[in-house]
Amino acid sequence: MGWYIGRRLLQMVPVFFGATLLIYALVFLLPGDPILALFGERPASPAAVAELRERYNLDEPFIVQYLLFIKGIFTLDFGESFSGRPVIEQLAEAFPVTIKLALIALAIEAVFGIAFGFLAGLRRGGLFDSTVLFLSLVVIGIPVFVLGFTAQYLFGVKWGVVDPTVGGDPTFAELLLPGAVLGALSFAYVLRLTRNSVAEALSADHVRTATAKGLGRPRVVTVHVLRNSLIPVVTFLGADLGALMGGALVTEGIFNVPGVGRLLYQAVIRSEGPTVVSVVTVLVLVYLLANLVVDLLYAVLDPRIRYV
């Protein structure tokens, strides 16, 4: 087990280099000259443009830019954005907020998704199943920005239950509504996955055996059905954590959460290579660690899977 984890951690090294190179290349390929854009529609002075290009290494060939960036990382210097602010400071501001938001979203989608999906799967075709099917359709059919604006308007403005926006250093309670909106789409996935896994497991041999053995239904469905149904669900949730953190752009915009989604979007729009790559690097690490946890959970959920 320890050996296995060690190997997995080691494998993150090539992923780190591969992902940073890929992202840096994509930023390099972004259309438009970021320095010219800084000047808006006003004339850009050639002297200033030349100075800025040099300052941000933009006058170097792509691979040199990348290597300079990697060199910086090893001295914990993640570079600067075009505003002159160190990227590391911006990461330190944005990530705590987004981690909170993503964890809340993950908890909401996991708890409700698994619970509803489990109940729906037990009685497929029943009233409850049809109701949650409709619910998940609503979530899928309505894009997140519509859902977010509507939720904000109803809860924040019309009924005044919560503040419509969140701002800096939010509490968990403040993040409940944005978290629910962010997790809504994934909730539909978790629900459908759980429902189908449960339905499938109900007809599996070991469940029939357990039932035949005379085990009570509650024990059969919780231990034998649910546990075995969770593998695809847990896989999905593990991969989703990273996606929730990086993909919260729209939700963060609606509720004014100063998080990673916004940081990433602004950096992409402005072609700020170091910022984009740094944010993505952290996201990759989160994603890899989450997946490692998921893979370890496989062994817990399915005794036939062992890691050596």
């Binding site: 309505i142 459908r192 992409v268 997946n291 496989y298």
Partner: protein
């Protein structure tokens, strides 16, 4: 790099062929396995309303997408700005959009782009993600390590960054560029799910049995592992189909979706957003079209999954 170990008591002793009557049974199984799998599935499907109803809806949607002019003669892009947000009237049953174009005509003409985006993206995602995931999960070892790390790299890709670069690289915005862009972000998820599902299935007794009986590795994968591992992938694919159509709306919302010259439900949803508080009905129609499509594919996926599950079929 996960290795499955077979627990004590789970391994089977297989006697030499000439000493067991099992050989005859195996021979039959191997001669017609896939024909009967799909054949049986079809036999069962064509009698089930849960399959027939969504299939009919999907056929209708496809007809609408292929021949929109059968259903409306109104130009979906003709703008009468002074009639913006007007309600339904003679010749314009569903009223007008924010820019005074006909809601019904746009609904009909939007089917093609939206369904194309959904289908193309889903197809690419399932094929690419499915193959990668299945290979990684089934073979394990260095293949798994390599493919899984590749998946990891793509997971990190921010949608907006990839989308802008793709739009630039492919020189244009159309159904294909949008579908390719969305695929770029969709396939790693399917690969992960497929891998985990294969991991689970390949530990099953019948897989061990097939292997023990000398079936080739690819044949085992194709005949015994894949059909049984497809369940979660079909679930993800059928939901994704809808979310891809909706994702096109989000791309439009971010300004990197289909151009205005291509009518689509996603674009119309995005365009209707500023009116969501005052005239929510213009947002409702494309949303309903999207939901009905998603529902149909979901139900179809469910039915298909049931039919493909040998155990479900016997019930």
């Amino acid at each position: 790099m996960s290795e499955t170990t077979v627990r004590p008591g789970q391994e089977h002793y297989v006697a030499p062929l000439d000493t067991t009557p099992l050989a005859a049974v195996d021979a039959v199984d191997e001669s017609t396995p896939s024909a009967s799998l799909w054949g049986d599935a079809w036999k069962q499907l064509r009698r089930r309303p849960l399959f027939i109803v969504p299939s009919l809806i999907i056929v209708l949607l496809i007809v609408v997408a292929l021949f929109p002019s059968l259903f409306t003669s109104v130009n979906p892009r003709y703008q009468e700005l002074s009639r913006a947000l007007e309600g339904g009237s003679e010749g314009h049953p569903l009223g007008f959009t924010r820019l005074g174009t006909d809601v019904y005509a746009r609904l009909v003409h939007g089917a093609r782009a939206s369904i194309s985006v959904g289908l193309i993206t889903t197809a690419i995602v399932v094929v690419v993600g499915g193959v990668v995931g299945a290979l990684a999960g089934f073979f394990g070892g260095w293949i798994d390590a390599l493919l899984s790390r590749l998946v990891d790299m793509f997971f990190a890709l921010p949608l907006i960054l990839g989308a802008i670069v793709m739009l630039q690289a492919l020189q244009g915005r159309n159904v294909w560029t949008v579908a390719l862009t969305l695929s770029l972000f969709g396939w790693p998820q399917v690969a992960r799910i497929m891998r985990s599902s294969v991991l689970q299935v390949r530990g099953n007794e019948y897989v061990t049995a097939a292997k023990s009986l000398g079936l080739g590795r690819f044949s085992t994968l194709a005949r015994h592992v894949l059909p049984n591992a497809l369940g979660p992938v079909i679930v993800i694919a059928t939901i994704s189909l809808g979310t891809f159509i909706a994702a096109e709306a989000t791309l439009s919302f971010l300004g990197i979706g289909l151009p205005s010259s291509v009518v689509s439900w996603g674009g119309d949803i995005s365009n209707a957003v500023p009116s969501v508080r005052t005239d929510p009905w213009i947002l409702l129609w494309p949303s309903i079209a999207l939901s009905v499509t998603v529902l149909s594919f979901l139900m179809l996926g469910d039915a298909l999954r049931d039919a493909l599950d040998p155990k479900g079929r016997t019930r």
